[in-house]
């Protein structure tokens, strides 16, 4: 922006970002540099286009979006977007009510969701003036993608596609989550083998407990309730407004990426929405593991020959709760790969034709250190897929996977590796050969990984064990009750009905026209384009390292005003 002569607007943009992150030293440094009239230090540049503005608007960064639109002519609907943002961010009247002042303050500091809550609370008390009504509509439009106006998928209607959804919907229509929880508990008792029923009880328990904790205070003495954040979301839950609650939780996750409680609540809201729509929250679409792949405990493997025909998993420790929809990247890719070879007649939501009971995934991060001993690799063999699953990836599991260009190779299981690249190259080649031959036996002479592991074990038993654990993505799955899994026959490309999947178009950022604003949730789901606010990208702040007293203009290195 500075290079294009929009220095003043760039300063407004920085001020808006600083209002959201007052302690960000880099932002302060950049703003001070511009205020002194100096040139900005070179750094990575992002494409300034409407897609960026669209993302900012959806994340509630309205000041930054307006500054960018005001400083640069981005063409297209930029002028209309700028005018709408200008209307939304316009000051409230000089003697406006406190609720409106708080709304405006939140809008300018990145709290668009909280501002929306202020307006909605004020609307419940009495009718809004015309300008506030207009801004409420604009905020809903910008943040919720017209969710309230979406005729379908906003609230589940019509015949229930599953028995569980049919049980949950009537009490949900009465906006009573406690009754929904009771119905789910009864259904779970009647259908003990249904993992979705157990998951529903757990999700609803989380949400009901949140409502009880956040709304337990007596607020009857207050004329205006200063409600924001989790209390505001709890209010939405009490009204069974899942969209509103999800929106607020998304905003909280975006601002506090490390808050696991909020993430769990956001997951629970979205998971409940899936259940009401009849979609499973426990993913049972993945096939069983390849035959003859052995995962055993460390104590049994060091110096011992494991049984080649069974998979032995250690039982879940007491107190560890099953986690639904933990997307493990390697396993998701494996599921995609095997799904292409699975019989087409099996619906994705039905359990595989295996004698093993339905499995519920457990997050590796929830297991105590002792329970993870069998899958703890040595540092040299640590891959990203073996690390605890980042919570930011949880929400992505709710997005239906798009078809890929072709059936992924077995080597795609290791696409996420970050270390030990050299030694993995040989393994990757071996696995590619293995996928071609269809022989998944570790004892096969064609699989040179066995030789490699043996050599590794001679050097370091843990090294070999780590490699073995990594070789099977199922190492992070476990059932509460069943401790052994009998795998099916390994899928091959020779299976009937196998065909490469159609290619998924890849569009580079900025090369396509910006998405129409607003997009409905239905459009986003169809386009396999998740709401960027759903993830709340982790903010990585890199502070420049400056020696104390050298290059520090005011001698204060705490990022204060210069």
């Amino acid at each position: 922006m500075v290079a294009r002569g929009a220095t003043r607007d760039a300063m407004v943009l920085l001020r808006g970002a600083l209002a959201r992150n007052p302690k960000d030293g880099d932002l302060r440094f950049a703003l001070a540099t511009l205020e002194r009239g100096e040139a900005m230090p070179p750094g990575p540049s992002a494409p300034l286009d409407l897609a960026l503005v669209d993302g900012w608007i959806r994340e509630g960064h309205l000041v930054e979006a307006l500054a960018l639109l005001g400083g640069l002519d981005l063409g297209g609907p930029s002028e209309e977007w700028a005018n709408l943002l200008g209307e939304l961010l316009a000051p409230v009247p000089a003697h406006a009510e406190e609720a409106f002042v708080a709304m405006h303050r939140e809008l300018l500091s990145g709290g668009a969701c909280v501002a929306l809550s202020h307006l909605e609370d004020r609307q419940r008390e009495s009718a809004l003036p015309g300008w506030a009504e207009r801004r409420l509509s604009l905020l809903r439009w910008m943040l919720l993608d017209n969710a309230q106006d979406a005729p379908d998928d906003a609230q589940p209607t019509g015949d229930a596609p599953t028995a569980l959804a049919g049980v949950l919907r009537p009490p949900f229509a009465e906006r009573n989550l406690e009754a929904v929880l009771e119905a789910a508990a009864r259904f779970a008792d009647e259908h003990p083998d249904d993992p979705d029923a157990r998951a529903a009880v757990r999700l609803l328990g989380v949400l009901v407990d949140e409502m009880a904790s956040q709304l337990s205070h007596d607020l009857s003495g207050y004329q205006t309730v200063p409600i924001a954040g989790r209390p505001a979301a709890a209010m939405q839950l009490r009204m069974a407004n899942l969209d509103g609650a999800a929106s607020i939780y998304r905003g909280l996750v975006a601002r506090q990426p490390g808050d696991e409680t909020v993430r769990a609540l956001a997951d629970a809201v979205v998971g409940l929405h899936r259940l009401l729509e009849g979609r499973p929250v426990v993913d049972r679409s993945f096939p069983p593991p390849p035959r003859d792949v052995v995962i055993v405990g460390r104590a049994a493997t060091v110096g011992a020959s494991p049984s080649p025909s069974r998979v032995v998993l250690e039982p879940l420790p007491r107190g560890a709760s099953p986690t639904i929809l933990e997307p493990v990247p390697t396993w998701e890719r494996a599921a995609e790969m095997f799904a292409s070879t699975a019989p087409a007649s099996r619906p994705p939501s039905t359990p595989p034709a295996s004698s093993a009971p339905p499995r519920v995934r457990h997050s590796a991060s929830e297991l105590p250190a002792g329970a993870l001993s069998w899958q703890t690799p040595s540092p040299s063999a640590t891959r990203r897929s073996d690390l605890p699953v980042r919570s930011t990836e949880k929400m992505s599991a709710f997005v239906e996977p798009a078809p890929t260009a072709s059936a992924p190779k077995a080597t795609s299981l290791f696409d996420d590796r970050t270390e030990n690249e050299d030694s993995d190259d040989a393994v990757e080649t071996d696995l590619a050969d293995l996928a071609e031959t269809g022989d998944w036996s570790l004892d096969s002479a064609t699989f040179d990984l066995t030789t490699k592991k043996t050599a590794l074990e001679e050097l370091d038993p843990l090294e070999g064990e780590a490699t073995r654990a990594v070789a099977n993505p199922l190492a992070v799955f476990e059932d509460e009750t069943a401790t052994r899994l009998e795998p099916d026959a390994p899928p091959t490309r020779d299976a009937p009905g196998w065909a490469p999947r159609p290619s998924r178009p890849t569009v580079p950022l900025g090369s396509s026209p910006p998405p129409a604003m607003p997009r409905s949730e239905v459009e986003m789901k169809r386009a396999d384009d998740p709401d960027p606010t759903l993830y709340g990208p982790t903010t990585v702040v890199v502070h420049p390292i400056r020696p104390i007293g050298v290059g520090d203009r005011d001698g204060d290195d705490d990022g204060g005003d210069r």
Partner: protein, 162 residues
């Protein structure tokens, strides 16, 4: 709404528009150009309620009457036909000019802390740094639009509160 002081209208004084109860933020627009006024009124009315003054005298009276309710003042720099131009009026509103040196209608004006945005059709003729030195907040091209005005007011708000 604050108490307003009843004053006898000055010569040439036109009655201010009746107060409307829609609650939009009140902005004073001082410009003699009817075309600019119509365009600005059309563009800003979705978020702002505009009071118009055609010259310095009307501007001073409206500031006395509605000064406490204003959220911004938009001043034409040139103000043809007026004794005071936009720059001088800005300095008066910021109380940077001795009262004795002012014409009677411009004396004892309340201090204005809201943003003062100077508008002009010849933006290149006035450096923005000079505008800020005299107490103005931003220099805008005519005709103004809602995005530019809101952006300027947002900058003022963020500078003051963050």
């Amino acid at each position: 709404m604050s108490e307003t002081v009843a004053r006898s209208p000055a010569p040439g004084w036109t009655a201010p528009p009746a107060r409307e109860g829609d609650g939009r933020a009140l902005v004073l627009y001082v410009d003699v150009d009817d075309q600019s006024w119509r365009t600005a009124s059309e563009r800003l009315r979705r978020a702002y309620r505009l009071l118009r003054a055609e010259n310095d005298r009307e501007a001073c009276e409206l500031i006395r009457t509605y000064g406490a309710d204003l959220v911004a003042v938009l001043l034409d720099i040139d103000l043809p036909g007026s004794v005071l131009d936009g720059i001088l009026l800005t300095r008066i509103l910021r109380q940077r000019v001795p009262s004795q040196a002012l014409p009677p209608f411009a004396r004892n004006l309340p201090r204005i802390d809201v943003p003062i945005l100077l508008v002009t059709a010849r933006k290149g003729a006035y450096p923005e740094e000079e505008v800020r030195r005299y107490g103005g907040d931003r220099l805008l091209d005519k005709p103004v639009d809602i995005a530019r005005v809101t952006l300027a007011l947002t900058e003022h708000h963020l500078q003051r509160h963050h």
